[in-house]
Symmetry: C2
Subunit: 310 residues, 2 copies
């Protein structure tokens, strides 16, 4: 990046984990001269200001976007349509509008109709996050070496796509472009269905009457605890993800349950060969994820103490 | 523990991740004067000797157990019955026989009939492990602050249970006793079903034709990569676990799929309230697992770089 800021004023609509991580990264790299946000609750605005991640925090998004040349939606995707409608009359000519939503087809459909002439819209999804929520949970390095997927649509001029791509690259991300529908299919299997089944098994365990909750907690090191991390993710955000990526999630979930039925049948009929074969081929995938730099190679995510033989 | 070794000779049947971790821990704490193992393959015996974790490595378990006052089965549970039959004539009077299997009811049923008069048998399950396999993957601290569940049965005298309990406590574990059948039910939900669904979703992702494997790998940071860690666990061990804990796994799996169908239906019918409610109550469980010392509180398992605000 050059020495001069890429943007004059960045307006973040919502300032949770992702919004505040963007704010920190932008400040650290000097990508915008001014950073403002909007947040509905007084408490969130207060925390954002106290953390010093924004210069101003507004209650209404229409106030935040005034004079901004980059506007990024960082609220749950279910809110996008209404917010787009509200801010539309206040958008600056030449401004670039984007988002960070985990689904893209419905996001494009709900924002794009409101984008006025002379304003660019490029939907984006930084594939990064943690199980924590809120402005205090953010950190500048969140996007480092993670992928950010841009899904250009009718109102995305090439220059705008390039500008947003530079922005995310400056935050440390690898940038890729994709068709919105294809994005939703890819993320359904790499993110949405994994979250759904993690939430689900934690719920199942919580409901048991033969096994106490204290037993579930005590013996969670056997595998269960990994799932609880994902199942601790923000409920509002994830509710909206499932409602807005319904088709792809239901499709992938259908395949998942079909495959699970086959494993269930193999267990019932003592078919060890089918189980062994299945359990053998899944190892290779982890190796590739580690090699691709998307995962730590450390045993047990580094939770295991270092051993003498390692 | 006292200054004198608790056991004269420890014989480990099998020397993979768990066996070699026991050997390292026992050596570090001085719990046995001599440590030997048996392993079918020459290569495993060579590695175990080279690592210096055992004093002798035998091909046949019958040779390893001679003169041992503590014998621990550390092979996949499907091998236990045959090994018990083979070693029975060679067991020392007064010896204590145990195991580390992840299921307990069938383990007791397959070992106990072979235990001769004057020999004690106490089944045990250290709830600890990593996704790595083999003798080189072991480390002495693996059992530190983890639970070890003893499931005493007909041939477990109280003194023997106490002796084994002291042994595991000396390796750093918290020890609990439980009925074998109840153990299998608890572990079905805290470990076995989580492993099955992790293996399953990684398999489902591997089979897709609309989404390439390279896309699955690139965008795995959205949640999928956590599942691949569990799905990288030892295939032989896990095949045996499912075949030997069939009833409890099928019971828990039935509940899991029932609950998943309800979530699937909520998505299909845009029932955001059901989703939100479900996603909200699962957060509390993770908090409790962290408070119980069974998990790290670090964001993203500590994979996320430290942020300015943390």
């Amino acid at each position: 990046m050059s020495d001069t800021a890429q943007f004059k004023k960045l307006a973040l609509i919502g300032i949770g984990l992702i919004g505040s991580s963007i704010a920190r990264g932008v400040r650290q790299k000097g990508l915008a001269e001014e950073i403002v946000c909007s947040a509905r609750t007084h408490d969130t605005r207060r925390v954002a200001m106290e953390l010093g991640v924004v210069d101003h925090a507004y209650e209404h998004s229409a106030d935040a976007v005034k004079g901004a040349d980059l506007v990024i939606f960082c609220t749950p995707v279910g809110t996008y349509g209404k917010i787009a409608e509200e801010i539309a009359p206040h958008l600056e000519k030449g401004a670039l509008i984007s988002d960070v939503g985990s689904v893209k087809k419905t996001v494009v459909d709900s924002i794009e109709p409101h984008i006025p002439e002379g304003v660019d819209f490029v939907a984006a999804h930084p594939v990064a996050g943690t199980e924590k929520s809120g402005p205090a949970a953010g950190f500048a390095e969140l996007f480092q070496s993670r992928w950010c997927i841009l899904t250009p649509s009718a109102k995305s001029r090439d220059e705008a796509v390039e500008k947003l791509s530079d922005f995310w690259a400056a935050l440390g991300s690898n940038v890729e472009t994709m068709d919105p529908k294809h994005h939703d299919l890819v993320l359904a299997i790499t993110s949405h269905v994994p979250h759904l089944i993690a939430y689900n098994i934690v719920g199942t365990a919580d409901d048991l009457e033969e096994v106490t909750q204290s037993e579930v907690i005590k013996y969670s090191a056997g595998g269960f605890r990994d799932f609880t991390r994902i199942a601790a993710s923000d409920p509002t955000m994830w509710r909206d993800v499932f409602l807005h990526n319904k088709d792809a999630v239901l499709e992938m979930l259908g395949r998942f349950t079909e495959d699970l039925s086959a494993l269930q049948r193999a267990i019932r009929w003592d078919d060890g060969d089918t189980l062994f074969q299945m359990f053998s081929r899944t190892r290779a995938i982890r190796r590739q994820i580690i090699d691709a730099g998307q995962e730590t190679a450390e045993t047990d995510f580094g939770r295991a103490p270092k051993g003498e033989g390692e």
